[in-house]
Symmetry: D2
Subunit: 347 residues, 4 copies
């Protein structure tokens, strides 16, 4: 690539701790891993020294990996796991039964960005009941209010500013913030939930610089729950080049395996086949492209797509269905944690 | 009606100055009346002494009466009149070109209550552009931001509180508040627009006591724009009894008029026929019911309907169409006043 | 009322058998009544001789009366009752496991008229699976397809015509038709479900003459399920006048009852107090109005309201919430009957 | 790639004539090209002999290429061009003023697939007025009805079957069918409109085999209007590899050009730079990948992505905004052609 690539120009901040940890292998970080049926859970605590090294805010990060949510019982499993993990974080931070403001970031009129507002629609709100003198709210129900700030370009007001104003008037003990994120791998889109107490930068995933929403900026704890719902074209290309390398390595090993010949080669899941191309092979199949590491490949394709306006953010065409189901998973999980006396099937 | 009727129990505060002025004839109040094609405009200024007498806040009240808005050119006329009247009030209060927050009260998920939020969707927002250092916003565009607080039972936060928080953080010079109101006559439902600088009590029309949104409570001028979109059953009955009296009086006069016999009597608009039943006739046709004045009739039917749960608030079944068209009228009118360089047809 | 009232002019066909039976007491008709918790069920069979007398098509009519559906467990009870009654009718007509087309009449863009289309959105469709050669559909699932014809003024095509075309091409064994109806009493609005095998006339409740959808016109059985969601102003007035008479009679009896004086008189449910005004009393309180019977009162108010354009059809202002919940009740009940192996909580 | 790639397995039928003509250079085909401001128009007639060769149905194909539609006046230009081109085709086929059924294919509940149903919502329907004996419809208005069949998986009925049933009952002279298509290049997504009289296969772009909608199958002329709104991951990768080649060739030529060094190289539009890599250079930069032609690259990435489930169809994240604006362009253009007396700004 002869000339210099200005990497900083395209630096999109990673929203997901799992991306960061995959890219940079940091010895000091211990990842606690668990499984619940087909669901994987990873928990990581970033302390302040590691924080600087990997450019992620310090805090607890829990990542939940799940598969298909078209199925009702799968969705219920995700709800069980998410509500357990959320509860654990609230306990650890002594926030159980405290007054909470649940905030849905994003644009209710733009489907892939509507995860926050749609989740809010189904949160069970009780603050107005606690404010009534004549009503004793049943035990097992927390004091919950909600807010959907909208997006800067539609309201003219930064989410941080409206949120701060409302916190000043309503005095919640902490906030839960829901947002849709940008994925930095196509394997994660609509497939993971990240919970963190480290705060959030609205729109950070898609390159807009917004004021951070965090304990630091708001003076009350912030629990952020995010799901990646969009991905950029450069990421799709980068991932596909990596898949191509895995596919070639698989083919090399299995080419003369008679068993393989019985099966349509296009139907074989070749991922994680335990074999990798060496430097020479990469060069043979991919030329200089084969010389680049993951971050360089991503940068290269950003450099290719951005100047001609084609590094667009995309979302799967089933976006309406997915946002609908994901927002139900989030609202049911949050309701379950905040209102322990609630019959989950009825909400 | 032997026993005592507790009038205070059912006292629904009138949202509309036009209701108040019809019910109580106050000599000192001068109503300026104008016409623009089929549209009537009434302007009234309530000073503080009259204010106490009629229990309406002091201020300017402009009422615009219009007919059918299914027709595109009729809608355009209403937009012309509303933008003119709104501009006049802003001029009078020296608010032209000042920074404004446009607020849509009501529930976006409940069609008859969605007038505010739906109007906000089409307001042209510019505050974020004014905040960009590198952008000089074209002349003829004001600094506009928007906010939709939602309703207390859905958010757990009073509109007043969230609004105050946002004003504290964003410092607009004044606010424009849009709300759907309760009509106290079936002739006014979806047929009038009221503009006032006297403030608003969210939900006041339907019996919920909410904190007032006004210059007094917020320390910046408040311009409220309201349209009645719902009416209660008792009002429908009260109006119909009055129509019945007019119809009987019409029939008495025209019964032997041969011309009338050529026409289907059911198709005759008998209103304002210049004839009234006397006390005896009223008694004959309506018994003791004929003895009651307008307020007593309303109270009687409230007393009949409320204990059995049938004084419901209703809205015409075409509510989706009406709210859609009315919100377009409001947003286009407001855009036209705030952004004078805008081509109205394009927004 | 001196002059003649042209009753036929305003004759709105009753959609509900319960209205007809209340108005005309027919000796030969036996109404089977049952109760399930707070839900009442009435079943009636109209034979052809009675049919002519009461101007209702012959057939089975089941009416389910329910109360509040804001509560989750109440809704579940209605689902249980409705699915039982629907199943009974299908059994009686030997339609269990037959191929069915479920049709949602009405306008998806007009909330009070969207009951049919919204119900259809949640019907579990299987016909395309039955058509796949490689798939054996599990037992306990019927062959189900759906259709939403839209409304004549929006599509330019009568529902009957599009429905007939689709039946000709897809050959279902019978159809289930869902429609929102006009109530002829405010006590019934959003409070009853009627199931009948006698067919339906789309829009008949609101005065539009449409081609009938029935066994007769389509040559396959038609099961119609309807809920009244709108009511006209004249009906509200008629009902209120009747409530007024009950209220007066209650007051007369209880006026000197000291127990009553302890209670806010406005909170007393005075309905069905077992006392009625006599002719003289009616005349005293209501004049000539007191002389009219129910149908005459309705006709009178139609005559009052129609010529001035105020006999509008209205719907409760909570229409979005109600249509949402009612459509869920209908879709869950229908799914339960058509797909017996389905876990009802999951659909 | 050592082993054999089964090309037929992944053959997605091209929806767009422009894709076909780019891929296969056919000498006999004459493309008429025009420009209107920034809009390009290409017209092509495929006769039956060419038809077989390129596997596209014979007929007229008009393709309109446009740029940004966020701007109101750009949208108006597209409306002018589209209505002109549509009118030309209707004239050529002698369909002006004939009875038309406008059909919106796709799923109204899935935003990227809702172009058809959303367009239908704004088509001005008149057939019901023509059917009224008492109404003479104004000259300059055609007899128009509309239909939205929904999608097979939601209705259980193939679009072709319901459409055929409705045509049999309502006897239109021709139909206009609107559909969202799959793009086979990221440059075309939401950027072109194709009009053709050759018919359509619903869902053909995304691999579902459906019955064809055409003159042949329906016995009346079919005018299809389509816009590509989704693209698959393999196409994004294929296009990016091509862009990469163009970018490298640009860099080679301009690397020592001092002018280029003044500009951020990432902001330069390097497309169509008139220089291409030769075979050796391709090999150097891309290895064996550089040896493949366009179709082979597409097939390769399909083979990589499909077995692991990542060849998903995606849509730009602004899909709600885009579908909204595109459906307005289509409905206004169609209304303008069908109802020549209509004031376009008012509809």
């Amino acid at each position: 690539m002869g000339h210099e690539i200005d990497l900083s120009y395209f630096d999109i901040r990673c929203d997901l701790i799992s991306d960061t940890l995959e890219n940079k292998k940091i010895k000091e970080i211990k990842i606690k891993k668990k499984n619940h049926k087909s669901i994987k859970i990873e928990e990581v605590v970033i302390n302040s020294s590691v924080s600087k090294e990997i450019n992620k805010k310090p805090g607890i990060y829990t990542t939940i990996y799940f598969e298909d949510i078209t199925d009702y019982s799968n969705r219920n499993e995700v709800i069980n796991v998410l509500s357990n993990e959320l509860k654990k974080i609230l306990k650890r931070k002594k926030l159980i039964n405290k007054k909470v403001l649940v905030v849905g970031l994003g644009n209710s009129l733009s489907t892939p960005d509507a995860l926050g507002p749609k989740t809010i629609e189904n949160i069970i709100v009780t603050r107005h009941l606690f404010n009534l003198k004549e009503v004793d709210v049943e035990e097992g129900f927390s004091n919950v209010s909600v807010f959907t700030p909208g997006v800067y370009a539609s309201t003219g007001i930064e989410s941080f500013d409206s949120l701060k104003g409302i916190i000043n008037e309503t005095h919640p003990d902490y906030i839960i913030v829901i947002d849709s994120l940008a994925a930095s791998s196509i394997e994660k889109i609509n497939k993971i939930i990240q919970i963190t107490d480290s705060g959030i930068e609205p729109g950070s995933g898609i390159g807009n610089n917004r004021k951070e929403i965090s304990l630091n900026s708001l003076n009350i704890p912030v629990i952020a729950i995010g799901i990646p719902t969009v991905v950029d074209a450069a990421t799709i290309v980068k991932d596909t080049i990596n898949f191509l390398i895995e596919k070639i390595s698989y083919n090399i090993v299995n080419l003369n395996n008679p068993k393989e010949k019985l099966i349509n080669p296009n139907l074989i899941n070749y991922l994680n086949n335990g074999y990798n191309l060496d430097k020479e092979e990469k060069k043979k199949y991919l030329g200089l492209l084969g010389d680049l590491d993951d971050e360089e490949i991503k940068s290269l394709f950003l450099e290719v797509l951005s100047p001609i306006g084609y590094n667009f953010m995309v979302t799967p065409k089933e976006v309406d269905f997915l946002i609908d189901k994901l927002s139900i998973i989030l609202s049911k999980s949050i309701n379950k944690v905040l209102h322990s006396n609630l019959n989950i099937n009825n909400n």
